[in-house]
């Protein structure tokens, strides 16, 4: 082997090691994220038992003594997320069916571009618009002292979940084999019967994954929700009250904490909770997506 080839082979050996390292980097990063959340967050549990952290009803991080119960925050997140799901799931699945099965090709392209456009709008811009236009409407319609409520958050977040739901559900619907449709039509079913009973039925796992990923996005959403929900860390009794979510708490309070202190650790502990929730949701959604492909 001549020297030119030898040098080339050494170079390639190094490049291929680098490729392997980059390849497993995603695993390393996931592990690092979890490790750093644990490193900064676990110290909280020397002072506060895990059950108190999750089930205690008061989040008063700066009173003396501080109380770190995230139940109101969990309920805030659940309320906003559930509200967003109730709005975005039927609308999202409905428009996915329309775009995939009914819209003529040109309209379809325009509608898909519209959905992509929605996905591209930064969350802080959506939050800004929600705060300025939606909140006053909610306030006057329901005669409330403030329009920054769980409902405003749910509506705003519904829009942020929709691009995810529509595009993934549309993929799942389009992936249903053509023969299913042809067989149904050949047996005399109308287009609607085919779409609803056959195509939507066959695409169920993919649509379920779409819904899960949409919900995953909503739970993790931070800026928009912080700007429109009013940020009151109280256990909500109605969807027309201000609430504070897990994400908004971290984003709003981290700037004021003492590094290494209890409050600081508590916010990282919330990060651990968020990480685990989204990990489970995304993992499950991925399983369903793979099921559809098979």
């Amino acid at each position: 082997m001549d020297t030119h080839t030898k040098i080339r082979k050494i170079k390639e050996f190094i490049i291929e090691r680098l490729i392997f390292l980059s390849g497993i980097m995603s695993i390393i990063i996931v592990a690092l994220i979890f490790a750093f959340l644990l490193k900064e967050g676990l110290t909280l549990f020397w002072q506060v038992p895990l059950s108190d952290f999750i089930f205690a009803r008061n989040w008063y991080p700066i009173s003396d003594p501080p109380q770190f119960g995230i139940l109101p925050l969990i309920l805030g997140s659940v309320l906003v997320t559930a509200g967003a799901a109730v709005i975005s799931v039927p609308i999202g699945i409905g428009s996915a069916l329309f775009i995939a099965e009914i819209a003529p090709p040109k309209t379809k392209e325009i509608m898909k571009a519209g959905v992509e456009l929605l996905a591209a709008i930064p969350s802080v811009v959506i939050g800004f618009i929600g705060m300025i236009t939606l909140a006053p409407i909610i306030k006057s319609v329901f005669g409330l002292p403030t329009g920054l409520t769980a409902l405003s958050g749910a509506i705003t977040l519904a829009f942020m979940a929709m691009p995810t739901i529509v595009s993934i559900a549309e993929d799942a619907i389009t992936a249903v084999p053509r023969q299913y449709r042809e067989a149904a039509i050949a047996m005399g079913a109308t287009k609607w019967q085919t779409t609803w009973r056959i195509v939507a039925y066959a695409a169920r796992p993919g649509m379920l994954a779409a819904v899960m990923l949409g919900i995953g996005r909503v739970i993790g959403e931070t800026m928009a929700v912080m700007m429109v929900t009013g940020n009151a860390a109280l256990i909500p009794h109605s969807i027309l009250q201000p609430v504070r979510t897990l994400t908004a708490t971290v984003a709003a309070e981290m700037g004021e904490t003492v590094q290494g202190g209890e409050h600081y650790a508590a916010l990282f502990a919330i990060g651990i909770v968020l990480f685990i929730i989204t990990f489970l949701i995304n993992g499950a959604a991925d399983l369903y997506l793979h099921k559809t492909k098979k």
């Binding site: 291929e16 996931v30 750093f36 428009s95 019967q193």
Partner: protein, 281 residues
């Protein structure tokens, strides 16, 4: 009920659903364009903010966002492309490759504020980069990594197998084959993914909250260890944290951010379209 009437009603409902997704987008865009245009002029784009951000321009925020986005891409693109090469060209179907794919899915789903916490923990504190452009760029870079990897994977997978076989059968090594017969043809797809990642990074706020963003810093950063203002955080600050900001300044800031993000997305869409039209295999 007549089945055709039923069908008509059903289709109308679905159409209404679609309108409910798309019309608000147009309304949002229209409101921001109409109300924001009046704020935008040369001085708004090129001057530093003054009088507690009530007047002056937003140039430091624009520049800060450009720096952050550039830094994120410099970090994420090489790593993401190499990672995609590993998945498409090197890995076989086994436990490790399944684990990598699962990790990517989860990275895509991690909440942006958790990336912020991670960036704070590892870059700001552990590596002692402080709150700086470097920390913020790296955090954003990790956040857009799944976008880059996924786009690059699709681009690599769309290159026909025959290109690889031909190159190998001519005695080229595996890396030469990838470098000369696969990557050049995957480049437009990778570029599209990169631009989408840019757009995503430009609009994100939560990851930069604790890693770089400055509340009010009316001067330009001079090194990667400086803090900087950034457009999305600036919009958040002037909408919620500072009372008495004139409305058109807020809308103007929102419009600049929106234009930046939409132009990047538009560029990606055009590039993808051009590429599909030109593709010959």
């Amino acid at each position: 009920m007549n089945v055709y009437l039923k069908q008509k009603i059903a289709f109308s409902v679905l159409f209404l659903c679609t309108l409910l997704v798309i019309v608000p987008v147009l309304v949002i865009l229209a409101i921001i364009f109409v109300k924001g245009m009046s704020a935008i002029d040369i001085s708004f784009l090129t001057e530093v903010p003054i009088k507690g951000m009530k007047e002056g321009g937003i140039f430091p925020a624009i520049l800060g966002t450009l720096y952050l986005v550039l830094g994120a891409v410099l970090f994420a693109v090489p790593l993401g492309v190499l990672s995609a090469i590993y998945l498409v060209e090197y890995s076989r179907e086994n436990f490790l490759s399944r684990l990598v794919k699962l990790a990517i899915v989860n990275l895509a789903g991690v909440p942006s504020v958790v990336y912020g916490l991670f960036g704070l923990g590892i870059f700001v504190l552990y590596f002692e980069f402080g709150a700086s452009i470097l920390s913020g760029s790296l955090t954003l870079g990790i956040m857009i990594l799944p976008v880059i990897i996924t786009a690059s994977r699709e681009a690599l997978e769309s290159v026909p197998k025959s290109f690889r076989i031909v190159s190998l059968s001519l005695g080229a090594s595996k890396w030469q084959t990838i470098r000369h017969s696969v990557l050049p043809h995957a480049l437009p797809g990778i570029l599209t993914g990169t631009i989408l990642g840019l757009g995503r990074a430009a609009g994100e706020t939560a990851p930069i909250l604790f890693t770089v963003a400055a509340f009010y810093l009316p001067k330009l950063p001079t090194s990667i260890f400086d803090q900087t203002m950034a457009l999305p955080y600036h919009l958040y600050v002037i909408s919620t944290q500072v009372p008495g900001i004139p409305e058109n300044v807020r809308y103007g800031t929102a419009l600049v951010l929106l234009l930046l993000v939409l132009l990047l997305n538009l560029a990606a869409i055009i590039l993808r379209y051009q590429f599909r039209k030109r593709k010959r295999w």
